[in-house]
């Protein structure tokens, strides 16, 4: 394979991975931006998306319906959790959130194990995207092309949502000065529940998208959530474009790092994070920088 062909193929691979990472990272960063809390249960919501997606595909026979239903269900679970539990903790210090969301991750993992069993479950890609295209004379799964495209579409949609809609405006305002928004007559609590729900729903989207690649399994979130934290730190906590940049950067470093420096592939990502923390502690596009 000539070099440019290799670069094209690997770049599309990296973009498809960036899309998955972005769905996780953007939810984390939105939640952090509004609530100043790190949601340790984010990986569990991602996993829940995959398992509900599996059941939805089994019940409806349609990947697309699953893609609509699962994130919705995950979002509702997330919003209810915020409403029922997190809301009581806003006056406490941040460690309370760490403990509670971490505990939720453990509880959700066990509930998923009880509900769906310990074995990995197959979710097939939708029939339209289960074939291959010849990309530079190499077979390339259309599902990965679709993932890369979906990542771009969702990123644009979130950007437009934040910039153009009233709710988006409220979210941005709340992340800058919650008290002022409250004083102007907006129910900040409602904004928080909504954002938490949206963030978790986006993790659910990621879970459904990832299931055909890695199967729906109890361990599926373990390494993904660490990657998501890394991209949020690289991009800047609370920054939407930062999470996009972080996801693309990490995905490219992983895909090309694994190829050229397989023994260092894991370390590279953390080295970048380290460099960012040293030179731009707020993240590449973060506020404190």
């Amino acid at each position: 394979m000539p070099l440019y062909a290799f670069l094209v193929v690997q770049s599309v691979n990296a973009l498809s991975q960036a899309a998955l990472l972005f769905f996780l990272g953007v939810g984390l960063t939105l939640i952090f931006g509004i609530m100043r809390i790190v949601n340790f249960a984010h990986g569990a919501f991602y996993m829940l998306g995959a398992f509900i997606g599996y059941s939805a595909v089994r019940l409806t026979g349609s990947f697309w319906l699953a893609l609509a239903l699962a994130p919705l269900a995950v979002g509702v679970v997330g919003a209810l959790f915020e409403f029922g539990i997190l809301r009581r903790l806003y006056r406490r210090d941040e460690s309370a959130f760490l403990m509670v969301t971490f505990g939720l991750a453990l509880v959700m993992t066990e509930l998923i194990r009880l509900g769906w069993g310990p074995e990995a479950l197959q979710v097939a890609p939708p029939p339209v995207f289960s074939g291959i295209v010849m990309l530079m004379d190499e077979p390339f799964p259309t599902y990965r092309l679709f993932l890369a495209g979906a990542g771009i579409v969702v990123a644009l949609a979130i950007w437009q949502f934040l910039e153009r809609t009233r709710l988006g405006l409220l979210i941005r305002a709340t992340s800058q000065n919650a008290e002022m928004v409250h004083a102007l007559g907006t129910d900040v609590n409602l904004v928080r529940s909504t954002v938490f729900g949206i963030g978790c729903g986006l993790a659910g989207v990621g879970g459904v998208f990832a299931a055909p690649l890695v199967t729906a399994s109890i361990g599926m979130s373990a390494t993904m959530i660490i990657d998501a934290f890394v991209i949020v730190i690289i991009g800047g906590m609370g920054s939407f474009p930062g999470s996009l940049l972080g996801a693309v950067l990490v995905a490219f470093v992983q895909v090309f790092g694994e190829y050229y420096l397989p023994d260092l592939a894991l370390a590279l990502m953390y080295l970048i994070m380290l460099a960012v923390l040293v030179f731009r502690p707020g993240g590449l596009l973060g506020k404190e920088a």
């Binding site: 290799f6 990995a120 291959i132 055909p212 199967t215 399994s217 694994e258 190829y259 397989p262």
Partner: protein, 405 residues
Amino acid sequence: MKQYTGVTRRRVAQLALTGSAGLLLPWVRRGSAAEPIKIGAPLALTGPLGSVGQQLKRGCELWIKTQNSKGGLLGREIKLLLEDTGGNPADAVRKAQEMVERDGCNIFTGITLSSEALAVVPKLDEWNAIFISSDNGDGRLTAESFVPNFFRANISAPMGARAVSLFLRSAEFKNFYAIGMDYAWGRNSVAVFESEMKAAKKNFVGSVFSPIGTKDFSTYITKIRQSGADACFVTMAGDDYNAFLSQAGQYRLPEKVQLLSEVIDLTVPRAVGDAAVGLISSMRYCFRFDNPKNKEFVALWSKEYGTVPDNNEGEQWQALQILAAGVEKAKSTETKGLRDALETVEIDDIKGHVAIRKCDHQAVQSGQVVKLAKAEGFDYPVPQIIATFPGDKTAPACKKMTYED
């Protein structure tokens, strides 16, 4: 005299009481004749290899239930001590140590990852405990890391890799590549396969290792494709294996490269479906073994769990059958006597004839190669046995993990 206020008369009395209770306890224990036999299983029930740990758990549970319904062992009830290690070697050591100190356990089985087993074996002498492996593949456990209290009932990584390579000697493939999970077992298995291919004058073009928990295998698949190999040896398990096979199928890799593997669980074809069709692998235990003991076992298993027993479930069963034979021979569970008895145990069980050899405590047993294919009555591809090699061909020389010929 402020510093003495912590010690009250009541506290002294408490200490004296607990102290004397501690002194009395060993005597009380010895006094009861029907003290249950405790089998410690610090399993990786969660983590990337959690599905393997879950199999070992079911194997232990059904065996103990069956054995207890027949009156236990030496007339004593058998009790399972179960803990989750998450696949972490430090946790495996800690949980095993707790079982020794808290429960007086001196028999272990089911430790899931080779990295965990390698961390546990140096402690066995200090704990005065026996460990019968049902799952650990790393060849070093019966070679350079061998300790007298360790026994391996299962087929090791070198033995599995050997069965596949014996099969490949007469196959048409010429150029081989290998991919393994980047830890003890993956590295060991690939190394054995590489030396086997070189000994067989086949062209071994290279290998790559993916970190445990890898989610995206696109780069590795590209590497395999670019290597020019017509067959690739895969040493993976659990979530990583499922992800690799799913994605390899999506890239149509099996159309160009025959995938080979050292070991496979049924959980893999169940999770990836058609992507596993055509895979050639060694299998440590296969529910299709054709002997009366196995038919009985498969029927018992299906009745209990509603599915056929899987690779590690059969291995766990066999390990406990070997343990039982040792205990009955020694007429005791005391460590030294049990060790001496186990050294020469032979059984005819679900995998046919299995004999522990004294020199390195490896159970010598025949090796099988299977190919996954669709079959009636199953909604996932199932293994079909395509070759069987006797134990003297698959077991390495004593305390070795490579082969001379």
